[in-house]
């Protein structure tokens, strides 16, 4: 058990971070909290990729004379792209949240549901 944790602690931490983000997305009522949870979730996936790229005695993937071996450059490239994309998607989510706030005056999921229920219950035809 100790050997397993020592050999694979990076994956275990990834799972912990991912579950913290996942919990925020499904359990928190506040939309801003959901977006923060989504960011944590995304970062845990990045950590998963980058930690896979590390090798024993590896140096940063920049060519130099005394290198024993290099870390895998491919996950670094993929995550470099993914970080920028994740910020773009976060920006779109925030813009949508601002529009929801303009329409309902709140960013709490439960209150939005109440307002929606009130509107559809009050009117005769939809």
């Amino acid at each position: 058990m100790i050997d397993f944790i020592a050999a694979k602690y990076n994956y275990l931490i990834c799972v912990c971070l991912m579950m913290i983000g996942f919990y925020a997305v499904i359990a928190k009522q506040n939309l801003m909290k959901k977006i923060i949870g989504l960011s944590i979730f995304q970062t845990s996936v990045f950590l998963f990729y980058i930690s896979m790229a590390k090798v024993t005695d590896g140096t940063a993937p920049i060519v130099w004379e005394g290198a024993v071996r290099y870390d895998n450059p491919l996950p670094h490239v993929l995550i470099l792209t993914a970080i920028v994309v994740s910020v773009s998607t976060t920006a779109v989510a925030i813009a949508l949240m601002i529009n929801i706030y303009k329409a309902y005056g709140t960013i709490e999921d439960s209150k939005i549901r109440e307002i929606e229920a009130g509107e559809s219950g009050g009117s005769v035809s939809r």
Binding site: L12, I40, L47, I50, Y70, V77, I94, A95, I107
Partner: protein, 177 residues
């Protein structure tokens, strides 16, 4: 060892970020989380990723969130869920975590040079990139040369996102309502 301590600290900051009732605190915790993540990237020798994370993750996304927060209520004011609804998300998370922990059993050990990920195209990039592209930084050569179309796709995603944000946040004319 420093790596493990940084990672455990990340878990603590992440929990603090989702538990804070003041959303400004929550966003600050998220920026600190990103900055520590940049330290982890440096420790894992992913220097290019660390630059991007520190600039974009810790800087820009925090600024976006604070800018959004200036328009709305700063404090979280949701009621606690009652009955089954309170424990259901926790149960879902626990089951998912159990499945993911079970899946790590089959993963190659951390820092194992013989892992399958290091056997496919990566050795080609490491061996030939300096000769073929003239760049000593292998990450740059893969990003801009071998996988240039990925970067083109990334740029189009950023462009689409920028257009979406502009369309969502533009002021509508009064007679349009």
């Amino acid at each position: 060892m420093i790596n493990l301590m940084l990672l455990l600290f990340l878990v603590v900051i992440a929990i603090a970020a989702i538990q804070a009732k003041d959303l400004l605190n929550s966003i600050m915790y998220l920026s600190v989380y990103s900055l520590f993540m940049a330290l982890v990237w440096t420790e894992l020798n992913a220097v290019d990723v660390a630059f991007t994370e520190a600039a974009v993750g810790a800087g820009v996304s925090g600024v976006f969130m604070i800018a959004a927060l200036t328009r709305m209520n700063r404090f979280e004011s949701s009621r606690e869920r009652t009955g089954l609804g309170k424990y259901f998300p926790m149960a879902v998370v626990a089951v998912t975590a159990a499945m993911l922990f079970y899946a790590t059993v089959d993963m190659p050990a951390y820092m194992d040079p013989e892992a399958p990920i290091h056997k496919h195209v990566a050795p080609y990039y490491i061996e030939h990139s300096e000769h073929e592209t003239g760049s000593v930084n292998i990450v740059t050569s893969v990003l801009a040369s071998y996988r240039g179309f990925d970067t083109l796709g990334e740029t189009s995603v950023v462009f689409t996102a920028a257009i979406s944000v502009i369309l969502l946040l533009r002021r509508r004319d009064k007679n349009e309502k």
